[in-house]
Subunit: 310 residues, 2 copies
Amino acid sequence: MTTRPAVLIMQRHLAPLTAFLESAYDVYRFWEGPPVEASARVEALVVAGEFELDKALIEALPRLSLIACFTSGHDGIDVAWCAARGLPVTHAPGVNHEDVADHALGLIIGARRQIVAGDRAVRAGEWTVDAKTITPSLRGAKVGIVGLGLIGEAIARRCEAFSMQVQWWGPRPKDSAWPRADSLIELARTSDILVIACKADETNRGLISAEVINALGPNGLLVNVARGQLVDEDALINALHAGRLGHAALDVFETEPTSAARWKDVPNTTLTPHTAGATTEAVQGMLSLMMQNLAAHFAGQPLITPVRTD
Amino acid sequence: MTTRPAVLIMQRHLAPLTAFLESAYDVYRFWEGPPVEASARVEALVVAGEFELDKALIEALPRLSLIACFTSGHDGIDVAWCAARGLPVTHAPGVNHEDVADHALGLIIGARRQIVAGDRAVRAGEWTVDAKTITPSLRGAKVGIVGLGLIGEAIARRCEAFSMQVQWWGPRPKDSAWPRADSLIELARTSDILVIACKADETNRGLISAEVINALGPNGLLVNVARGQLVDEDALINALHAGRLGHAALDVFETEPTSAARWKDVPNTTLTPHTAGATTEAVQGMLSLMMQNLAAHFAGQPLITPVRTD
């Protein structure tokens, strides 16, 4: 008879956490179809915050007392609903925002200076003696950052090293070294590059609407390192087809993994598989916070990094 | 009968300069097979500095009095030989070093965070629910810069914004904010990322030898935004095949355009078609300097930006 608490890992790509969790817990994996008795035993869920967490599942786990979100973002979890049930949620804030910002700059430089397209052209034998690709300089480019949290500020600092001009918008004013635009539309209208770096929740789904995309315009570059749901992706694809937007460099998508077919004929895109925050160092930091939160919870001590519900 | 000086453009990709030059000069284009009388008339050559300039051609132009190099680099021109003939060479220094540094950072982030590879994977449908790419963080990575001139310093400043650790090596010590390694081999041995940013001439052909590449090692990233001839390209390709080098991100090649076939089966490469310095703004600056140098020369005034031969 075991005395170890049981935890249930929800998403397949979190499978590598098993080895670490098994040092202290009995581990079930959702996609393997856990045995019937598991539902009576599971005390904690281990989840990636970008995936919707099924409330019916939560209600079917009578002993569930913690949702341990491996990621910083927790938009797939209805935290207020959980709080009302007395169910705490932990996450991993402040671990990978510098890595996400690095990736955002990689997408900006890659798109603006045509690094992905250039690589494709060299491999296709399209570099010829009479061809010379000329691209716009980064210097002086106007970068608009949507959401000036940890990630947004890290992006802004890096943009300054490239002599880009930074402005931002978020729903709430805050003290910062960079000017805040009057509105999101105004930010898009006056930016060459719009970088989405805000938290996603039910209040801002589709924030980057057709209107915002059109305001960014035919020479504009849209970069998304936040969440796919923040963008009206159908509107984005339509704008790219019609040449109403210059380029979209996306690390996140409405549905993940996004399908190759969805982007097959869409011009002027750079697509990465949600890797902006996934560095060796960040994953180690997230793993450490998750293990600490689980240990604190089962020892009856205060959680290290609970999601705040105020 | 014309009184306008005649100029000869040497390389096809410089053809767009014709319209500007024709405002003041009679323009011949080498690849079109200029008429016989042209050789008696040409007073200036317009060239791109990365291509070897044929001395026999120079000797066949009796009225030639200026070589106007459109680029900053002038490694294809034997400037000392020209000076000995009383033939001045002008170039375009200090115009595009910030753009070249931007591109170098794009190559570093793109290779290290697998942006080009990620884009290819998404398009190939290789992003699946159980796949998660984890890449090394930039923070703390050791960057070794070969040549701390204008380009090298611009790269170093940008690397600091990503919390990378900068060191450098060049044949001559100089005051700088970053430590100089004792030797090139030592720089390669102690760096995660080696960026080539030095001038190329006959003294440093093949500087990045098999030994330097092996010192950088199986997790190392080699970035070249300088000149292809600085690298022993056959040795580089062998090292990539054998896994003795982690990745090569190259904007310049031994022969340009490089052939797609040469790189077809070479793993872990990012290839761009010599576009690091080719921005709209830089090209305008280079055009302006070239036109000013030509005008000064034909007015008998001091050249604006002659290549120094001291």
